[in-house]
């Protein structure tokens, strides 16, 4: 089974890092993965996408994609501002969103069929754990926790292991904590 995932965030929020960690975790499970940034200039605050593919077989595809099984939105303003509509969620797809409001309407999304919506307040988690740079909460790792909580194709244990390995030391511990908290706090909102 091949999952294609898009992390939609803003420059500086760490979408690419989240995508990389996810692939490392997949490798721990003897799965295959690919992660890549949008090929272009990234500016802090500007909407930016990162891409991941996870599969139990070797991945030969290398093309960019704008249609995904899972859309992870790191900043719900990108939904309100219409940026998320640039990406299409596949049939039986999943939306994982960082929000406090838990309200997403169908017309804010582009989707082939029904979309299962999962929500978490990753901003709150990041702030409480001191994961903030230049006023921007680093919601990448909590959103990674939310992603695997919504789907389960990669275990929490391996994502934590990959995170500790990626950051090391105190920062690794704080990010792992963020993942664990988000994993537990992610809730299923319903289908839209």
């Amino acid at each position: 089974m091949l999952y294609e995932i898009i992390f939609l965030g803003r420059g500086g929020q760490g979408g690419v890092t989240a995508s990389n960690i996810l692939v490392q975790a997949a490798i721990y499970e003897n799965k295959y993965g690919q992660s890549f940034p949008f090929f272009g200039a990234e500016r802090r605050g500007a909407p930016v996408a990162a891409y991941a593919r996870i599969s139990d077989k070797p991945i030969l595809k290398h093309g960019m994609f704008n249609e995904a099984d899972v859309l992870v939105v790191l900043d719900d303003s990108l939904i309100k501002l219409g940026v998320a509509k640039k990406y299409t969620i596949r049939e039986n797809g999943v939306l994982v969103i960082n929000t406090q409001e838990k309200i997403v309407t169908r017309d804010q999304l582009s989707a082939r069929g029904k979309v299962k919506v999962f929500a978490v307040n990753a901003t709150k988690i990041a702030r409480e754990l001191g994961l903030v740079v230049a006023g921007w909460p680093l919601v990448n790792t909590p959103m990674l926790g939310a992603l695997i909580s919504s789907n389960g194709f990669i275990s929490l244990e391996n994502v934590v292991k990959a995170t500790l390995n990626y950051f090391g030391g105190k920062l690794g511990a704080r990010n792992s904590e963020a993942i664990k908290r988000a994993y537990g706090e992610t809730s299923y909102v319903g289908e839209v």
């Binding site: 803003r10 420059g11 500016r43 802090r44 605050g45 500007a46 909407p47 303003s77 501002l81 940026v83 901003t123 006023g135 921007w136």
Partner: protein, 94 residues
């Protein structure tokens, strides 16, 4: 002497013309928003001079006026304002 003649095939050429918003509505990039207190504004032009996105215009009547469509929220205007007339507030009201 030189004569400018378009290519006969109307070929696409790598030429650009001045345009507002080449990088889109850069106001989307913001997480903090500058807010002007017009009463405090002394019309000193510092914010207009330094605004890196050219989104601030100061007029004697209006004081500093910010174009939020393109303001990236860097906060530089608030930092250079000598009278504290510009403050940064969270974009999403958190």
């Amino acid at each position: 002497m030189v004569k400018v003649v378009k290519p006969l095939g109307d070929d696409k050429l790598p030429l650009t013309k001045p345009m507002v918003g080449v990088a889109g509505k850069t106001g989307l990039w913001r997480n903090m928003k500058p807010v002007v207190n017009v009463d405090k504004c002394t019309r000193c032009y510092q914010c207009e001079i330094y605004c890196p996105v050219n989104t601030i215009i100061v007029e004697p009547e209006t004081g500093a006026v910010i174009n939020y469509d393109y303001c990236k929220g860097c906060g530089l205007c608030a930092d250079v304002c000598p009278s504290g007339a510009i403050v940064m507030v969270p974009e999403l009201g958190e």
